[in-house]
Subunit: 425 residues, 2 copies
């Protein structure tokens, strides 16, 4: 018999609505799973077990509050929460108690979701790792920066979690931990109440058991029923794009892409090969310039008043950013604009692009959260990215592809990823 | 003899660099002015007189920290500050103490500026007014939402201040209070640490005695010397644009626009009449839809937990936003994109557009901060807007025009506004 904690969010919501599952039973099952796995996985920075049970019991007595009624969710610890500390993975913010929830957290609760706790983030959602381990193999990284959220979903501790992506911080850990991950179009959801990293890139992201879980959550936040449209979108036209950085892929990335392609074609999808324009080489140069310049501006307070509490890696990145002149930054932003204007051509004849979501399986070791080379440029362009679990690499660990859509074309991108996901299972 | 408090920021910085003015003397002069005018003007929510004097004395003993060395500035009270409360003009946040400075505040201090205090904002930078009075006529509104910052600069209390503009919250109060105001291109400066209102519109803005003051401050934040380029840009090509809402202008707006045009032409500028495309009528419909929808999302926490502490006007706006479906919002955002794509035509043959900055002089009364009809669509488009003081209306109060530039063309827009400003004096 399946444990409630192993249900997808969509299925759990269906059962709660039908009265065959209570919010309390679901939360309790998740808390049991957390108790069993947390000592090894260490996904949580703060657990709110009693508060979650209390909230679930209250929801069980009330009429439905919305599409997320009774669903437990975890929140990356760079999101403000009024009832839990928010450390952003930095000793500078140890014990920090914000006055309000981040907008998407408040909207989730408003729609009936139950906050279970705050999950580990790397230091300020940059590259210095936290304590979290990969739930499928503890010697490997869970990825970052949304390490705890990905590990919590991947370990079956919660069906839904929030992450944030500035480079590759949702899609990469989702792949490594075997979760579905969705980074919406830039600006689709408010980043209000989330500790900034780079304002041109910072994007609210979500994770779930399935692509449909991600669509359920984000649809609920927007006030749109995105589940309804998932199945009716038909067979997607797919552009297979190895990007200009295919040389950085691990050996398992090719077979994963080929297998996905084959299964999609067998099911009737048209898959064409798409070359990234050579001009996008500049994008790979421009993306880190914008990142470093903006980080140096965003973290001016921490550098001035709490320099000693920053990791050396973080400090060095800020110093790199401080050395970038505004004209260089403006030039890099112009490259982003130019490439964005070419997206129409890149998507010509396709509903979505299909690219690697990471170079391969999660690397061994905990000093490094993995290479975001297959993520950063898409984040910089602001396009929606969706990855679904299903494929395994040579070590039995998840590997993934991602569906990339046009800016603002999130619903179609989710539908395509949902269609691809069904081919993988 | 001119008081230090009456110097422009640029002139004060020059004297401090030359050793003919100390930071302490400047801060003291500003504090004297505040003591004299504050009982009537009520610009400040929190004054940090002793801290400012202490900071000024420390700067006087140290080598120059940057282009803002020793310059006093005021901060709108929706900006986080680690050493002063941040209320956002709402009883919900009475006594709220953030853990860090908003990014631009930290960057200002890093460049040597001295924080003098927090200035009154309307409730959450929306329309419910605070206590501030117009420094030129206490029966009139100072404008909003950056009421205190505009009044403080207009009353000579500080040479520089931060505001924020989501609809017309920097340019409008700057005009009403006789300050120079500059709303940069959307995203030029980080809004990190500023209480959000609507994420597609929220923009850091600045006020100064002159356009050059605004250029000095923003250049310092970016790490660019924008002062140097102000004078070398030549005579601007100006497109006079009455917009589609000219019928909402007060009687004094026409003469102000005509007088500015005449003086510019006399000095050799080519001024052409520019019609806003008829399609922009949709922009005036779309702009408030995006605003209300986003506000409903941003303020989910306050509506859920602190509803009774919101003004009726604010609550009604949130309820309007909650009633907007995502498809309507998406349609409104698409209108914004369409109009943005037509900006190239609108600016054809011009360096900047010249439009009214407000319908006219500040209205009498304190229940209403004035009509932002000449501001909101420009904010929604993300273009830079600059206004300079100099013209007076029939009641002897300031009226203003604004220079509007292409997205990202901030330096040229400032230079044009600086050129126009010189024609007004």
């Amino acid at each position: 018999m399946i444990e409630p904690a192993d249900l997808s969010a969509v299925e759990a919501a269906r059962r709660i609505a039908a009265g065959s599952l209570s919010a309390e039973a679901l939360v309790r099952s998740c808390l049991d799973r957390i108790a069993a796995r947390e000592p090894q996985v260490q996904a949580f920075e703060h657990l709110a077990a009693n508060e979650a049970l209390r909230a679930a019991r209250a929801l069980d007595k009330a009429p439905s509050r919305g599409p997320l009624h009774g669903l437990p969710f975890a929140i990356k610890d760079n999101y403000d929460t009024w009832d839990m500390p928010t450390t952003s993975g930095s000793p500078i913010y140890a014990g920090n108690r914000p006055s309000a929830d981040a907008a998407v957290v408040a909207l989730s609760r408003q729609a009936g979701a139950v906050a279970v706790g705050k999950t580990v983030t790397t230091e300020f959602a940059y590259f210095t790792p936290g304590k979290t381990r990969n739930p499928h193999d503890p010697v490997r990284t869970p990825g970052g920066s949304s390490s705890g959220s990905a590990a919590a979903v991947g370990a079956g501790m919660v069906p839904l979690a929030f992450g944030s992506q500035t480079v590759g911080s949702v899609i990469r850990p989702a792949v490594f931990c075997g979760a579905a991950g969705y980074k919406p179009s830039f600006g689709l959801l408010p980043a209000t109440g989330i500790k900034a990293l780079a304002w041109s890139y910072d994007t609210v992201g979500v994770m779930g058991r399935t692509v449909a879980d991600c669509a359920l959550l984000v649809g609920a936040l927007l006030g749109a029923d995105w589940l309804a449209g998932l199945d009716g979108a038909g067979t997607p036209r797919i552009g297979l794009c190895r990007t200009l950085k295919w040389s950085e892929a691990q050996p398992e990335a090719g077979p994963a892409l080929d297998a996905t392609r084959r299964r999609c074609e067998t099911s009737g999808a048209k898959v064409i090969e798409v070359e990234m324009p050579a001009g996008f080489a500049e994008l790979y140069e421009a993306q880190p310039v914008v990142l470093a310049y903006e980080m140096a501006h965003v973290f001016a307070d921490e550098m001035a008043r709490s320099r000693d509490k920053l990791s050396a890696r973080f400090r060095e990145q800020i110093e790199r950013g401080q050395a970038i002149r505004h004209v260089e930054y403006a030039r890099a932003k112009a490259v982003l604009d130019t490439c964005r204007a070419q997206l129409g051509d890149l998507f010509d004849g396709c509903d979505v692009l299909m690219t690697p979501a990471s170079p391969g399986e999660a690397p061994v070791g905990h000093g490094y959260t993995g290479n975001p080379i297959f993520n950063g440029v898409w984040t910089a362009l602001g396009v929606p990215c969706v990855t679904a679990p299903g494929l395994k690499g040579p070590n039995g660990l998840p590997v993934g592809v991602q569906a990339i859509g046009r800016i603002g074309d999130d619903a179609r991108t989710l539908a395509a990823a949902h269609w691809i996901e069904a081919r993988l299972s």
